[in-house]
Symmetry: C2
Subunit: 335 residues, 2 copies
DNA sequence: TTGTAAGCGTTATCAT
DNA sequence: ATGATAACGCTTACAA
């Protein structure tokens, strides 16, 4: 920067002024500076800037795993929104096999990131989230923690769940089962609540529908489906509601492996509408969450909070849209 | 830090010494400092550190898109390796609709990252890469640029391609076609070369096999497959080699939509072995690249270069393993 | 409109 | 073994 000033024959602060146009500077001198910058290929040292400004123009994004396309889509949305505002996104994938994620809080405290986008996804206890939120702004995606009022961007899971369940019921199914997500997760609760509303609306006692508890992973879909396969045909549900696509995929695999036809023998629906769900045979009926937009929105909210444009106490709602495909059909007469 | 020094009754430099154990300090005073740190929940300001040290303990990772699971897996590997060495990973997803990615070079020059992991993936001209490499260390993943000797971590695509083609030929196929990747990409060239070696080895003139040019995306798989579908049955290939899974998936969709059975009417193989490939019907025969390990390795190489443990002029090779599944069978007699 | 100078929180050199 | 103190590269009063 000193070099630039020298090269342009101005003082160092003038350079700073043109860089941030934070001060008045004569057009002619401004150009001289701009030239010098170009010639010297000068680029400000961001560490020094950060030190002075006390902010790093960087946010953290914690996701349970990137190979889950839902998270990948959210991540892309976050990165897009951040990039548009010249903010960097650092990827944090908490190592399950590791100690407290109090690490992330330290990350925040050490000023390496100004704030955090948090996708709890598969698990993670509010405990550590509390630590995190104490150290700086946090916005949640597709999650809400009852006790603490954290800004969040969520989709209307409950409504989506209600609608997809209603769709299944409309096909005439009466013997159902659900594979739910981790009971501690808000989304899992919402989806279950949505299903139950639909059951009640169709005159079915919600408590009469068995709920298998899953963990949102494919393996738990298969495992729970295996139990269903073992049931006598005339007790076996004719339709299975899975709280996410991954579990639905696991369940479908298990059913196929055991000779059950989908949807003839058992209809299956998921939730999330992962891109891969349309590649399955049959294509999975699911509920689409606008993952990319949710990420985009969350980043925007976080950045607004950081710029104090927002007070940070709201939750953004986005639609969750049912996608009709061919993994559902009316129940067939027993064979 | 001043507070910590005060609280511990020592000088500020003593605190620094214990923080980095960069100087001698009496056991008893060290403990006093450690205590103070705990009590005050002190965490060093990394911007100040970076300013002084002239490095930021952060690397950039540019990937074309995260929704491609191959990239997602690499990314996870990178992040793991970096985290193990207390290094942050910033995610860069070049916006295709945007100007030059000279931006990334600026990122490096502005000292917001110490180095970059680069996955060219779908495209990107060496031109800009050159800019990048001029500004700091860059390591490539699953790519090599002939002109410039950049460190890289690649898998043995050529061998993998040769083997999967050989497998197809062993089934008795003689009328083949391939859908290749972007001709400018090294991986695309390698895979094609591998196929051709196998053809030659089986007594087939490599030049007699039609090569459709794709772009590694699903859409180009379908589009090229559509051409194949239009051919008269007795000229139509009985097996199709796709240079990656995404295109294979596109092709399969197209074939199915047009009533061709896989593999009876046409065998299909891919490359990458994405997790989803095992969910397709039929399950796709493919070549697995150790994506996670490649990412891990690449990050390790980059960090070693940054610590000057490596001279940065080598390429790491990893195996590419063929995964036999059911999208291939011997050619059927014409119907 | 422009320049001078005082920090920002660390690290590291040099006396002590 | 410990403590002043001068950078590191930038921003921003404040003075000119």
């Amino acid at each position: 920067m000193k070099d630039v000033a020298q090269h342009a024959g101005v003082s160092i602060s003038t350079v700073s002024y043109v860089l941030n146009d934070s001060g008045p500077v004569a057009a002619e001198r401004r150009n001289r500076v701009l030239d010098a910058i170009r010639v010297l290929e000068y680029s400000p040292n961001e560490s020094a800037r950060s030190l002075k400004r006390r902010t790093v123009s960087t946010i953290g994004m914690v996701v349970p795993e990137l190979t889950n396309q839902f998270f990948a889509m959210v991540a892309e949305g976050v990165q897009k929104a951040a990039a548009a505002r010249d903010v960097l996104v650092v990827l944090v994938v908490p190592d399950a096999t590791e100690l407290p994620e109090e690490n992330q809080a330290k990350l925040l405290r050490s000023q390496r990131v100004d704030g955090v986008i948090y996708l709890s996804g598969t698990g993670s206890m509010p405990r550590s989230l509390f630590e995190l939120a104490r150290s700086g702004p946090v916005v949640l995606v597709d999650e809400q923690i009852p006790g603490m009022e954290l800004p969040a961007v969520v989709s209307d899971s409950r409504k989506g769940a209600r609608e997809i369940a209603a769709h299944v019921l409309e096909q005439g199914h009466r013997r159902l089962a659900v594979i739910g997500g981790p009971p501690a997760l808000w989304t899992a609760q919402q989806r279950l609540a949505g299903y139950r509303e639909a059951f009640a609306g169709a005159g079915i006692d919600p408590d009469s529908v068995p709920v298998h508890v899953g963990d949102y992973r494919q393996g738990s879909g298969s495992a729970n489906a295996a139990e269903i396969v073992r049931m006598p045909v005339d007790e076996r549900p004719t339709a299975l509601l899975c709280a996410n696509d991954l579990m639905a995929i696991g369940a479908m695999e298990c059913f196929k492996a055991n000779g059950l036809r989908i949807p003839e023998d058992i209809s299956v629906v998921g939730f999330d509408d992962l891109p891969i769900s349309t590649l399955l045979t049959p294509r999975l009926t699911s509920v689409r969450q606008p993952a990319h937009d949710m990420g985009h929105r969350a980043a925007t909210v976080l950045l607004d909070i950081l710029e104090e444009k927002e007070d940070g106490l709201m939750v953004g709602h986005m639609p969750a849209l049912i996608q009709l495909r061919d993994s559902v059909c009316p129940p067939q007469a027993a064979r």
